[in-house]
Symmetry: D2
Subunit: 98 residues, 4 copies
């Protein structure tokens, strides 16, 4: 099953600047070979369900390993069985009508 997610990892208890932890996540996602798009409130990721969620778990492990005692993450998850659709197509279907 293909999945598109929007991943927003927020480490807690490491002060106010979070970007080095987000960088750690980006590296985990890239190392997993997943297609990603970073934006101002998260990272869109697409791929097979099991690979994508294995990478999400690896992000939590990496951010804890880097020193964050606590993490709160928000994930939006989209699946569809009527047809295939990429992240780029999803954005284009809106932009084409604007």
């Amino acid at each position: 099953m293909k999945v598109m997610i929007d991943l927003c990892v927020v480490p807690i208890g490491v002060g106010v600047s979070l970007s080095e932890y987000i960088v750690e996540c980006e590296r985990v996602l890239q190392a997993a070979g997943l297609k990603t798009e970073l934006h101002a409130h998260g990272t869109n990721v697409e791929g097979e369900w099991d690979e994508v969620f294995a990478a999400v778990k690896a992000c939590h492990e990496a951010v804890h390993a880097k020193g964050a005692p606590r993490i709160t993450t928000t994930i939006k998850v989209g699946t569809r069985v009527d047809r295939e659709q990429t992240m780029a197509e999803k954005v284009a279907s809106v932009k084409d009508r604007l």
Copy 2:
């Protein structure tokens, strides 16, 4: 790794009444033996990471199998390595101060 999630599954393309699909998810979570708390915008679930996310995948599969062509889900995910904390303790830590 223990995890606490808040799972909100929204089937798309099945009309305006979604409760039978939510019921399907609740059954999947219960069949997985996970501790759950239903509320007005989702279901809190706690357990081991792999078991919890296997159940989330099973929810998507069950809701598609029931006829939903498309699903958009929101998951909040909490992990902490400084100490163990249950959902009940998390709620109590706020209620005790009110």
Copy 3:
């Protein structure tokens, strides 16, 4: 327009224990006279749109005033124009089928 929201306020840069900030939000919501239900990943609130979102803004102001330099909040927002539905009815429509 009536609205049901699920509000999850996460102060950043104040250490790992967040409950005193959540308590502050609960007080703001109660002072606004809104109907609320606390759960392990947030607080469900129902009311008129303008009152509910005024209270959300007041929560951000109160949590900053209490010392949090940064806040990341997640809000789920439900509106419907086909019929009225309370939070309690929404939960009951699932529980009755289980």
Copy 4:
């Protein structure tokens, strides 16, 4: 108070293709003169709190007016009082380290 939000509006009860409703929201946000960035799971918006949330309400009204009986929306909300930061700076602080 400045705010950065990530807005994801999901109309329910209008079938499986949602892009025309998302287009409606984009037009509302643009008409409000807000700075926006569309991505595969939502739209990032920045501006003054009251203007941004007035636009979110106008999105719900516009999507209902276009025929959606029910809407479920997810909003991530970021505020900070320690310093100003734009959406572009937030993305750059991660990309510069990759």
